[in-house]
C-alpha cells in the first residue's frame, strides 16, 4: 500500500490567526465564501473558575490536495509555511501519529 500523507494540527497552540485559510485560498485560487481549510472555534467557556476551554480546529475541505504541487517540489504546504504558531505539519500518517502520541494532547490529524 502506498504511504498516505496528512496534516497534523497542534490545537493547543493554534492561535486562530486565519493564515492557513487565506494562504490556502491564495494557493488554490478559491472564490469568496469557499475554503480549502476552515478554522472552527471551540469556546471560550469557563469550565471551573479560571479554567477555560478555548481552542481553534482547522478542518480540511475537498479542495485540499495537501498542496500536491508544492510538496512535489519539496516545499511544505502553504498552510504549514504561513501558520503563525507553527502548529501545522505535513507528513506520512504513521510519522504524524507517532508525533501526535508523543505530544499526548490536543492534536488532530486530518486527511482531505
Amino acid at each position: 500500500m502506498t504511504q498516505k500523507y496528512g496534516l497534523l494540527f497542534d490545537n493547543y497552540w493554534c492561535t486562530g490567526c486565519h493564515s492557513c485559510e487565506i494562504s490556502c485560498k491564495n494557493e488554490h485560487d478559491l472564490p469568496l465564501g469557499q475554503w480549502g481549510i476552515k478554522m472552527l472555534e471551540l469556546g471560550p467557556w469557563e469550565k471551573t473558575e479560571g479554567d477555560w476551554e478555548h481552542k481553534y480546529y482547522p478542518v480540511l475541505t475537498s479542495y485540499c490536495d495537501l498542496c500536491k504541487e508544492r510538496t512535489e517540489k519539496g516545499e511544505v504546504p502553504a498552510c504549514q509555511l504561513h501558520c503563525l504558531a507553527s502548529a501545522i505539519e505535513y507528513g506520512p500518517l504513521d510519522e504524524l501519529a507517532e508525533k501526535m502520541a508523543e505530544r499526548g494532547k490536543c492534536s488532530s490529524i486530518l486527511i482531505p
Binding site: 493547543y12 497552540w13 492561535t15 486562530g16 490567526c17 486565519h18 493564515s19 485559510e21 487565506i22 494562504s23 485560498k25 491564495n26 472564490p31 469568496l32 465564501g33 469556546g43 471560550p44 467557556w45 469557563e46 479560571g50 477555560w52 476551554e53 478555548h54 502553504a78 509555511l81 504561513h82 501558520c83 503563525l84 504558531a85 507553527s86
Partner: protein
C-alpha cells in the same frame, strides 16, 4: 555593533525557467503595518506581482505571514487605488470633484500654498500630521522642518498615547531606549544559542502581540517561548486566548494598571523578593521609592483592580525568579495614569534584577530616529544627537521651536519629542489660539476614520478650516474625502526601497531590506521620492544640501546607507543589506556593566546619577512627582458616581484584529470576509438584561458621542465591561459629505474625549470610559456579504480609470 547573517539564505533574487523572478523582501508601508520586517517572497512575472508568500529564510518569521500581507496584492492592484496626483478646489471639499494633475503642478501648488500661508498667518502656521507606526514617520521631519519649515508636527492621538509615553519613561528613568522581553532575535543560534537562557515567565501587560506585532516585535515569539516552557502571566481585562494559556491571568478593572503594578511592587518589597545587590549597585532612590510603594498596600491594590490578593501575591513571587521578560503594551499609553504604570513596571524589572540579562528584559539602545524636532536636533554631539548625516541644520528658528503648540506647558514634549501636543494642537486649529494654523500636510494617516484620534468630528471640522490640505496615501479615505485639496499617490512597500528595524531601531534582531520589486504603478511615488523631488527645487535646495552640494537625498541608496551607518549604528550600507535582505544586530547583555550605555564609555546608566532613577530626577526637573502614584480612572463609577446610573458599563477600545491595521484594509473583500463588520463584545448576562441577541446592531453611547457596532456575546469580559472595535469606516458607502464612507456609523472614537490627559501631556482614557448600550432600531449602513461588497468610488486618478493599468486589477 556586531551583526550576523544566515549563511544558507537564498539569494535576494532568483529567476525560474519560465522567467518568473522571485524577490526576497520585507514589508512596512503602505499599506500600514508595524515595521517587523517579516520575510516575504514576491513572485514577479512580466512586470506584474503574481504571488506573495512567506520567506523561510527570514531569521525570525521563517516563512510565517499574517493575512494582511497574504492579501497585500488586493491592495496593490485594487481598482480604487489612486495612482495619479489629484487636485480638488478647496470649495469642493466633501465632493468627488477631483481632477488628475501632474506632479509638477502638484509641487508648484505646494510651494505656492506654503508661501501664501506663511505670508498671511506667520512662520509656524503650517502643520504636518502623522499616524501610527508607518514608514511615513521616517520622512515627517523632512516634510515639516525642511519643506514646510514649521515645528508643528503632530501625531494626532490624544495624549500621544502610542509608544511615546513608554519610550519616554524608559529614557527618563534609565537613560536608554525601550525595554523589551528577550526572544533571542539577536542571537545567531536563536533559542538554542549558548548565550540565551530560557525565561521562566513572560509578564504580558495590556498587549495583544499575536495580532498586532506591536512596535516591530514579532508577536508569535510569545508562542515560541511558551512552547519551550516559559510560563505566561497575562494582564488584560479580557480572558483572551493568551489568558486561557497563562499560568496567572490578572483580569483587572480597565484603567487600574498602576494600582496593580504598585500591588506587585508592594509584595516584592515587603516579602523581600528583590535583588539587593542590583538595587544597591544600579538603582537610585530605592528607599524613597519603597516609602511611596508602602503608602499603598496589597489589599488596597486588590480592591482597586478587582484582582484577588492571592493572585497578586503569587505573581509577585514568580517575578522574584530570574529570568523573566516584560511585554509592556499600549494599554499603558492609553491611560492618563500610564506614565506612572510604566514607571512601576520599569522598577519591577529593575529591582528584581531582570534588566538586560539573558532571557530577561533587554534594554534598548538610545537611538533617536529622525524625531528631529526637539531642542537638541541639529546641535552636533549634544544629548542623543550625534548625527553626521549629509544634511544642513534644519532651518526652523528658535522662536518657532518655542512656539510649537503645547511645548511650554508640557516640558517632556519639549525635551524629548519636539512635536506639537495633540490635544492642544486640536484646540489651536479649532480656534486660532494662540495663532492660526491654516496649512496641513497629512502623511499616510486617517484621523477622521480614525486610526487613533479622539472625537474625530472635531478633527474633521478643524481640518476643514484650513486654507490648504495635502495628503499622501494610496486610497481616498474619509479624512481625505472631507478635507483634502491635493492628493499625492504613494508607492506601496513592493514599489520602493527602504528598511525596517525592530522597535524604532532601539533593539537587536533583523534589520530587513524592503526592496522595490516592481516600478510604482501609474505615477505613484515613495515617501522618500517626494522629498527627494522637493529637495531639488530652488525653494528648498539650501534646506537639504550642504555647501558642497552633497545631500543625503542624493538617492534612496545614499539615504538608507546614511541612516544605517550614522543613525542606527548598524555599520553596513544599503548594498550589503540589499544583498543579504536580513542582517541581524547582535544582542548585547548587561550593557550597563560593560560601559555600552554612556557616551564616556564608563559602566552605568546614561542618567545624572549613572543609575536607574527609581526616584526620577528627570520627572522632578519637569515639575512632576519623582515617584509614581495612582489616579482613579476619571470617568468610571468611583470618580464619577453621578454618571453611573446613566452609563453603567465600562467601555474599552482599541483591541486589534487579524484583518486590518487600524483604519486600513477595509477595501479588501477577502479580509472583510474574515472580519466583515465591527463588533462590541458584551457579556451574555448583560445582553440578556438589555434584550440584545448575538449579531444584532447596538448603539453604544456616552456623554461625548455614540456609534453602532454588532453585538458579540462572550463571557470573556466581566459583566460590566464591553470591548468595542475601532477604526471602522465603509469604503462601499457614499464617500461624499455627510457620509464620508459611512465614517460616523461605527466611529467608537467619537466616545473618547480630548484633553483628558496625564500630567506630562501623555495618556488618554481610550481604554476606560463609561457607556450604555441599547438595541439599534436599524442597521446604520447597508450590509453586504463580502463577495457582494460594491464600490461607489470612481476617482479619475484610480487604477480602474487608467487604461494602461486596468488589466492588472484584482
Amino acid at each position: 555593533m556586531s551583526t550576523f547573517i544566515k549563511e544558507s539564505a537564498a539569494p535576494q533574487k532568483q529567476v525560474l525557467a519560465d522567467g518568473t523572478e522571485i524577490h526576497r523582501t520585507s514589508p512596512w508601508s503602505p499599506p500600514g503595518c508595524h515595521g517587523v520586517g517579516c520575510g516575504i517572497r514576491a513572485f514577479v512575472k512580466d512586470g506584474k506581482i503574481v504571488k506573495l508568500e512567506g520567506d523561510p529564510d527570514h531569521p525570525v518569521t521563517e516563512g510565517r505571514l499574517c493575512i494582511r500581507c497574504l492579501r497585500a496584492l488586493d491592495i496593490q492592484y485594487h481598482p480604487d487605488r489612486i495612482v495619479h496626483p489629484m487636485f480638488r478646489d478647496p470649495k469642493d471639499r466633501g465632493t468627488d470633484k477631483w481632477k488628475v494633475i501632474s506632479w509638477d503642478e502638484a509641487y508648484n501648488k505646494i510651494e505656492e500654498e506654503i508661501v501664501k500661508c506663511k505670508e498671511k498667518y506667520g512662520p509656524n502656521s503650517l502643520s504636518v500630521l502623522t499616524g501610527t507606526g508607518r514608514e511615513a514617520g521616517r520622512y515627517m521631519t523632512n516634510t515639516s522642518a525642511r519643506v514646510c519649515v514649521t515645528t508643528n508636527q503632530c501625531y494626532t492621538q490624544s495624549g500621544f498615547s502610542c509608544m511615546a509615553p513608554r519610550d519616554t519613561v524608559c529614557s527618563m528613568i534609565g537613560g536608554a531606549g525601550y525595554i523589551e522581553y528577550d526572544y533571542a532575535n539577536g542571537l545567531p543560534g536563536k533559542y538554542d544559542d549558548p548565550e540565551f537562557v530560557q525565561p521562566k515567565y513572560l509578564l504580558n501587560w495590556g498587549r495583544d502581540s499575536l495580532r498586532s506585532n506591536p512596535d516591530g516585535t514579532w508577536g508569535h515569539s510569545i508562542i515560541e517561548l511558551m512552547k519551550r516552557g516559559t510560563q505566561l502571566i497575562n494582564v488584560d481585562p479580557r480572558v483572551n486566548w493568551l489568558s486561557t494559556r497563562s499560568l496567572h491571568h490578572m483580569q483587572l478593572r480597565p484603567g487600574t494598571d498602576t494600582a496593580l503594578a504598585l500591588g506587585l511592587l508592594w509584595v516584592v518589597i515587603n516579602e523581600d523578593l528583590y535583588d539587593h545587590e542590583f538595587v544597591e549597585k544600579w538603582c537610585y532612590g530605592f528607599d524613597k521609592f519603597k516609602d511611596r510603594v508602602n503608602e499603598y498596600s496589597l489589599s488596597w491594590a486588590s480592591e482597586v483592580t478587582e484582582v484577588p490578593e492571592e493572585t497578586i501575591r503569587a505573581v509577585a513571587r514568580c517575578l522574584s525568579e530570574k529570568p523573566w521578560g516584560l511585554n509592556m503594551g499600549l494599554a499603558n499609553d492609553q491611560n492618563p495614569n500610564g506614565v506612572e504604570s510604566v514607571h512601576c513596571l520599569y522598577a519591577l524589572v529593575a529591582i528584581t534584577g531582570n534588566l538586560d540579562i539573558p532571557g530577561g528584559t533587554n534594554l534598548g539602545w538610545n537611538i533617536t530616529l529622525d524625531f528631529g524636532g526637539n531642542e537638541y536636533d541639529a546641535v552636533d554631539g549634544v544629548a542623543g544627537s550625534k548625527k553626521k548625516e549629509s544634511l544642513p541644520p534644519n532651518p526652523v528658528t528658535k522662536e518657532q521651536r518655542e512656539s510649537t503648540i503645547g511645548l511650554n506647558k508640557y516640558p517632556i514634549f519639549k525635551l524629548l519629542l519636539g512635536k506639537a501636543v495633540p490635544d492642544l494642537f486640536l484646540e489651536t486649529i479649532e480656534t486660532d489660539d494662540p495663532y492660526p494654523i491654516r496649512f496641513c500636510w497629512i502623511l499616510h494617516t486617517n484621523p477622521v476614520a480614525p486610526t487613533n484620534s479622539a472625537q474625530p468630528m472635531r478633527w474633521k471640522n478643524a481640518l476643514q478650516r484650513m486654507d490648504f490640505v495635502v495628503a499622501q496615501d494610496i486610497f481616498i479615505n474619509p479624512t481625505i474625502a472631507a478635507a483634502c485639496d491635493l492628493f499625492l499617490p504613494l508607492a506601496t512597500w513592493l514599489e520602493h526601497d527602504g528598511y525596517t528595524t525592530p522597535l524604532m531601531g532601539e533593539h537587536p534582531g533583523p534589520v530587513a531590506a524592503m526592496i522595490k520589486v516592481i516600478e510604482p504603478l501609474g505615477e505613484a511615488k515613495s515617501e522618500y521620492q517626494i522629498i527627494e523631488d522637493l529637495s531639488k527645487r530652488p525653494a528648498y535646495w539650501n534646506n537639504f544640501h550642504l555647501e558642497d552640494g552633497s545631500t543625503k537625498f542624493e538617492s534612496p541608496a545614499r539615504y538608507i546607507s546614511e541612516d544605517l551607518t550614522k543613525l542606527v549604528m548598524f555599520g553596513k550600507d544599503w548594498d550589503y543589506l540589499k544583498e543579504h535582505v536580513d542582517v541581524c544586530r547582535k544582542t548585547e547583555y548587561r550593557k550597563y556593566e560593560r560601559g555600552l550605555l554612556r557616551p564616556d564609555g564608563s559602566p552605568g546608566f546614561n542618567t545624572t546619577t549613572g543609575q536607574i532613577e527609581l526616584y526620577s530626577l528627570m520627572f522632578a526637573s519637569c515639575g512632576g512627582d519623582p515617584l509614581p502614584s495612582y489616579e482613579e480612572p476619571r470617568f468610571l463609577q468611583i470618580a464619577k458616581p453621578e454618571w453611573a446610573e446613566e452609563y453603567p458599563l465600562i467601555l474599552t477600545t482599541g483591541a486589534r484584529n487579524w484583518a486590518s491595521f487600524h483604519s486600513e484594509h477595509r477595501q479588501v473583500k477577502v479580509l472583510r470576509e474574515i472580519k466583515p463588520y465591527p463588533v462590541v463584545e458584551i457579556h451574555p448576562n448583560t445582553a440578556a438584561k438589555l434584550g440584545i441577541f448575538e449579531g444584532e446592531w447596538v448603539c453604544i453611547e456616552n456623554p461625548w458621542g455614540k456609534c453602532y457596532e454588532k453585538a458579540k456575546l462572550t463571557t470573556r469580559l466581566k459583566e460590566n465591561v464591553v470591548n468595542a472595535d475601532h477604526g471602522w469606516w465603509y469604503p462601499e458607502e457614499d464617500m461624499n459629505e455627510p457620509s464620508l464612507g459611512g465614517v460616523w456609523a461605527s466611529n467608537i472614537n467619537e466616545l473618547v474625549p480630548n484633553n483628558e490627559i496625564g500630567f506630562y501631556g501623555f495618556g488618554a482614557p481610550y481604554k476606560a470610559l463609561p457607556c450604555k448600550i441599547t438595541k439599534a432600531d436599524k442597521p446604520p449602513i447597508t450590509e453586504y456579504r463580502a463577495q457582494d461588497l460594491p464600490s461607489s468610488q470612481n476617482y479619475p486618478g484610480s487604477i480602474k480609470n487608467d487604461a494602461k493599468l486596468k488589466d492588472l486589477m484584482r
